[in-house]
Amino acid sequence: MTNATGDGARGGGPLVVVCLRVTDLRPEVDPLTGVVTRSAHGAGLSAADEAALERALAIARAWSGRVLAVAAGSPIVEGPLRAAAALGAAVLRVAWPPHDEADGHGAAPGAASAVNAASAVDPEPFGPRAAYLADLAGDTRALAEVLVDAIRTVGEPTLVLCGDLSPDRGTGALPAQLAHALGAAQALGLVSLTPTDDGWLLAERRLDGGRRERLRVPTPAVCSAEAAGLRLRRAALPALLAAGDAPVPAARPTRPAVGAVEVVDVRAYRPRARVVPPPAGATPRDRLLALTGALVAHDPPTIIGPTDAGQAADALVAYLVRNGYLTA
């Protein structure tokens, strides 16, 4: 595993880590098949992750500490990491999910980088599709452990920050797993986080009824927060140019990518059984026929598209009226 580079790595003081999830923020979903296509152009950080980076920079400054930005993923994560480096963070990519990157997937720097963001069109910029989906379906424990291993090559973190939810996995569970792996305190789903003079953190979290709870969080801690109440800084031009050329070190996980929960099978959603009254009919055969609708003349299926939404809605309503589900 290579050491992280960047301005922030050089300073001393407490280590504030921010974990960034790079994903396609505008994936295309085929309305017919549901197939999701991710492109490098949409690659970037969610608003919450951007806010986490800003918080990390602000808290590190208050503590006279240093910032390490870590992102797990294919080389496409280098774009946002370079942007973080231009803001003064040390950066580290964790090659994830573990697969052979020699196939060139995602090899182009990410679109969200402010320097050298151009890329040829890569059909799988986030790595092989199957590996990406399997990773999303799995739990985050293995990833958390790998991230902690990578972070510890740089130092023992005083604070690890995350956005509240990643746009693609969306469970918000990773920070909890990180806290477990680090043996640190955790405060998740926050709306604000401020360092206090005595080395603690003051956090606020939403409660029902528009109220908020205030927490005093000890360190080391893992905190996740929403994108609220912050103004993001922009990198200076010289820093941006310098970061654009710098290589992004990559850590290759040594542990197998197996989490606590292993997904062995994916099944269709099965709602709870409902009791249905028996069909009318004197004989079992009649009842079976009534139940299945066999030997009854049906309207053949009608193909009504492609058509515009209005016409499609009219056709559906007409069908429902015709079959007695709606009154005209």
Binding site: L32, H41, G44, A108, A111, A112, S113, A114, V115, N116, A117, A118, S119, A120, V121, R234, A235, A236, L237, P238, L240, L241, A242, G244, D245, G305, P306, T307, D308, A309
Partner: protein, 455 residues
């Protein structure tokens, strides 16, 4: 870079020779990573210059709008066998020119399989893909692309020479030996330099377009296409009398439909541009192609259409302008070509800038080579030859009367009027001309004018 006395002095390296008051950070700054800027950065980097390519969008092509057809042969100068990797949607094998009235359509439809194989002719492509690809070639050649950064002004030395740009970032001044403004139509940098006069609406059109989703198979079936074959339709008429025209291009699983409208006509008609697109979509000759399509994207952008006679000076001390920033779109009726002209001008600008930087002479006199070279190439040669086209194409008769005349003439030719005998063609022409308010003398005069412009 080539000049040993003026070594590359990018940020983070040793300071270089002074340009004006302070050292230059790089040899060449290119503003705008559209086709002109990417090509300029590529050519300059290949010529050995240190280059920074500034783009205001988050990635090249993110903000760029066009109709949809790129004529790719200019890419021969970028990459051999470029067609093997360019991000293409479809290769145009069919070109239709339609003359429309509200209820009629006359189509000249041309198809050739020659355009279905290398080196191809036109291709439909998305600008987000194409511009990123071209900018990728520039960065591969050594240019540094800086995105999400707006060039907000020019830096000048005490003598008034352009020596760099100001950006919207902290410490955002960047100095160079030569700046290339490739920031598109209505270029603020070209205006600030004094090269480009205040935009004259007469010499600009507004391009508007919608991208509509349709399944790939439906597009193939409706437009008679297979595999990666594509169709390009140009339309004249049915724009409520506003000078301009319409277009329809096929992508893999979308169709771009839009209009290019003269600004004064649009303002006078008090019509919103999307209403013109709605008219085109509803036309009986177009609507069946688009049945069931859903709108995916809507965009609008200015197009410089002044042509050769209204092109600005292309260079001043320390600055070159390329592509739409210099008004280089060729809009001549059946031709609407901007991207290839942008790339053509960018390639020359990049090379001339790199040579000037290497020679340590970025004076206006030295940079005049840029125009000289463009005159020898298609970029200014085509513009010069077709200099009269914009005026005639946007003229009242061509736009408002001839579509009706042609459609009426053809309709009367094909209408069987039994038991009346067939009238002679000349009589029909006279009748159609009269109905549309055109005298035969005007017709002959315009025929001659058109012949002269397009000879």
């Amino acid at each position: 870079m080539a000049d040993e006395q003026a070594p590359y002095a990018g940020p983070g390296t040793s300071p270089g020779t002074a340009v004006g008051d302070r050292p230059a950070d790089v040899d060449v700054i290119v503003v705008g990573a559209g086709p002109a800027g990417a090509a300029a950065a590529l050519a300059a980097a290949r010529a050995g210059a240190s280059v920074v390519l500034l783009e205001r969008g988050p990635f090249p092509g993110s903000k760029n709008v066009y109709g949809g057809v790129i004529y790719g042969r200019i890419l021969d100068a970028v990459l051999p066998n470029w067609w093997e990797e360019v991000p293409v949607e479809r290769w145009v094998v069919r070109r239709s020119t339609m003359v429309l009235t509200e209820t009629q359509a006359l189509t000249v439809d041309f198809r050739t399989q020659t355009w279905a194989g290398p080196p191809y002719n036109g291709m439909t492509a998305y600008r987000a893909d194409f511009d990123s690809w071209l900018a990728g070639k520039a960065t591969a050649a050594g240019a540094r692309l800086v995105t999400s950064t707006v060039a907000t002004g020019l830096l000048r030395d005490a003598a008034g020479r352009v020596v760099g740009v100001r950006t919207d970032r902290t410490d955002g001044e960047l100095r160079a030996r030569v700046v290339i403004a490739a920031d598109g139509v209505n270029s603020f940098l070209a205006k600030e330099s004094g090269l480009l006069p205040k935009a004259d609406p007469k010499h600009h059109t507004l391009g508007v377009k919608e991208v509509l989703s349709l399944p790939r198979e439906v597009i193939d079936e409706r437009f008679g296409l297979r595999g990666q074959e594509g169709l390009d339709i140009e339309m004249l008429g049915n724009t409520r009398g506003i000078p301009g025209g319409g277009f329809l291009y096929t992508n893999s699983d979308t169709v771009s439909i839009g209009a290019v409208l003269a600004l004064p006509g649009l303002a006078a008609a008090k019509v919103r541009p999307e209403e013109i697109i709605a008219d085109l979509k509803a036309h009986p000759a177009i609507a069946p192609y688009l049945r069931g399509a859903t709108v995916k994207e809507y965009a609008a952008h200015l197009i410089p259409e002044g042509g050769y006679d209204h092109m600005p000076a292309l260079a001043t001390d320390g600055l070159l302008i390329a592509g739409d920033a210099a008004g280089m779109t060729l809009a001549a009726g059946i031709w609407l070509e901007g991207v290839n002209f942008a790339i053509g001008s960018g390639l020359v600008a990049g090379r001339v800038a790199a040579e000037a930087a290497a020679a340590g002479d970025a004076s206006k006199k030295r940079l005049a080579r840029y125009r000289d070279e463009l005159e020898k190439q298609f970029v200014l040669a085509d513009h010069k030859r077709l200099r009269g086209a914009p005026e005639i194409i946007l003229s009242e008769r061509i736009q408002r009367r001839y579509p009706g005349l042609v459609a009426d003439l053809v309709e009367s030719l094909f209408t069987v009027t039994n038991p009346e005998p067939k009238p002679g063609a000349l009589a029909l022409l006279r009748r159609a001309a009269k109905r549309n308010g055109v005298s035969l003398r005007e017709l002959a005069r315009d025929g001659l004018r058109i012949g002269k412009v397009f000879r």
